[in-house]
Symmetry: C2
Subunit: 331 residues, 2 copies
């Protein structure tokens, strides 16, 4: 009998389709990625090709040799200049597409993968996320800051050089607002943070926990929306990502790097996205919201049922895939 589970943070219903279940190792990628060189002459992200970029916003590392670097997105989805004007004519509501769209080059080496970073290299990347988040949120036109990574073609990128992106939007996205409303309702009812409570119950249950760091925990949610869907929660209550402390950055780097390595070695380097879900900039100290990082290996496809219902079908049991990942040994 399949089981329906409700994700109380997203409110999504998920069908855990045990009748058509796949064993975790059936998700191993069987196609090999084409081998890449360490440096590529025409890659705009490789050291030595900085002249191909439209400028530099920030760097970590010396003037000669950078370790992480932020540049403007050459084809920004949101324009860096302009006023936040709105228009509403009958049912047609629009707004100037102003905001921020930056590219964060995670590593100088073209053929490096975040799964193979050292903890220190990953900490550099997260420090850059923090630096840019803190800078961008000061722009009065910005309401929400989204940091994300697309790894591989199924995850939406055709640029192989490891990079992340930061986009800052002039509206609070509807999905974010709905989740805030749910979190406020829970806080009203119980006087506690929905996310803190979820984390403590997941830690008590234990069977979906993958990595327990000092400051961060990686686990598959009870109602994981797709196979290997993983959340990384800070143990300490923080609504806004940029409240992260230095010691926490180091621990997040370790937990995230280890998780990505478990995907890499256990599932043969699947495509994935990850994103940091933080509160909108105006509510940075909220008691009811708690930022977290979500990682979605792109090993399954959204089809007509998901589009038509907004429900998800997960063909793995989260308890089984969490155990599988716990057992993957990484160097």
């Amino acid at each position: 009998m399949p089981e329906l589970r409700q994700n109380l943070i997203t409110r999504d219903w998920v069908i855990i389709a045990t009748e058509r279940a796949n064993r975790p190792n059936e998700f191993k990628v069987t196609t090999e990625r084409p081998p890449l060189p360490a440096y590529l002459d025409d890659c705009p992200f490789c050291p030595g090709n900085e002249h191909l970029n439209t400028g530099e916003i920030s760097r970590i590392g010396g003037t000669k040799q950078w370790r992480v670097r932020t540049i403007p997105n050459k084809f920004p989805a949101l324009a860096p200049r302009g006023e936040r004007t709105r228009s509403s004519q009958g049912m047609f509501r629009s707004m100037a597409g102003v905001g921020v769209h930056e590219v964060i080059i995670d590593h100088p080496r073209h053929n490096m993968s975040p799964a193979l970073f050292s903890d220190e290299e990953m900490a550099d990347v997260i420090t850059m996320y923090w630096t840019r988040y803190a800078a961008v949120k000061k722009d009065p036109r910005v309401e929400a800051v989204v940091i994300f990574k697309n790894h591989g073609e199924n995850a939406g990128t055709t640029l192989y050089h490891p990079h992340s992106q930061l986009a800052a939007t002039p509206v609070v996205p509807t999905q974010v607002r709905l989740r805030m409303e749910e979190a406020i309702r829970y806080f009203d009812d119980s006087g506690e943070c929905l996310f803190c409570r979820t984390l403590s119950e997941e830690l008590a249950a234990g069977d979906r926990v993958i990595i327990e760091g000092k400051h961060f925990v990686a686990f598959q949610p009870y109602a994981a929306l797709s196979p290997f869907h993983t959340w990384i929660f800070p143990r300490r209550h923080m609504a806004s990502f940029d409240d992260i402390a230095d010691a926490e950055i180091a621990d997040l780097a370790h937990v995230l790097r280890t998780l990505l390595a478990k995907f890499h070695f256990g599932l043969n380097d699947p495509d994935y996205n990850y994103t940091i879900r933080s509160i909108p900039t105006a509510n940075a100290k909220a008691e009811y919201f708690h930022w977290y990082l979500t990682v979605i290996p792109r090993v399954s496809r959204v089809a007509g049922f998901e589009i038509g219902s907004g429900m998800y079908i997960n063909t793995t049991l989260p308890e089984e895939s969490a155990r599988f990942l716990r057992d993957v040994q990484v160097p």
Copy 2:
């Protein structure tokens, strides 16, 4: 300057990314589909192989020669038998996965495509949708009925024989409930149906309309979530799909078939999903809701930004892609 548009029915914000815009014909599929035979010995959906199915639920056509046929899904996401039991332990909320999951074989011929159906063949398929919707909604465990089609691998199917699916869920999906709440709010404020109003404004604007049938209109919404995202609305107010009348079925068949043919000939047979968005079964006569059909060609990918924000990036201007589709001549 990119433009943000808000879809008032889904409440989603869409970035119309004109700076990185693609001309409509850049979305033409360049890979050829492998040629298929008209009949295949081991295809469970081909005539003559009915013994490979686990039963027949309904058919259109004679006892010897069927035209459309409904069978149980061999690997159902929801179990056909069992009680609708719920459980809630702390943050862990679950429910027995009972419901309905059927496969509708659209046509006897293995290598047929809905884009190439005659209007009569498409009307048979929609009549079957109607028949099964009306039957399934009587099951007291069913709260919502989702009819959908996956065409091609990017749309989630590896079975090429043309088929649709019907799934009936024992809960009202959260996405459906949120859209109902928005529609109720609009009805409260204005005394009219949000969807009727949207249709009349789209018809008055005209530049996103693709096909005007007697009873149905195909148009790209002002804030289309992805390239070529198209809605087909009934002109008459109806909350529930199964209120469709015979003359309306014939017209929907013509409009849907023509639209799919425009995709087929204009974009070289892209993968797509379509789904019928109807009201939950308990509210069939609602004044505030209006069923419709949504068609989503899978010509773009959801990446980290969409996952992280819930916003969409559409790299075509809906007015331009609607004009492109209007201009595609179909046999």
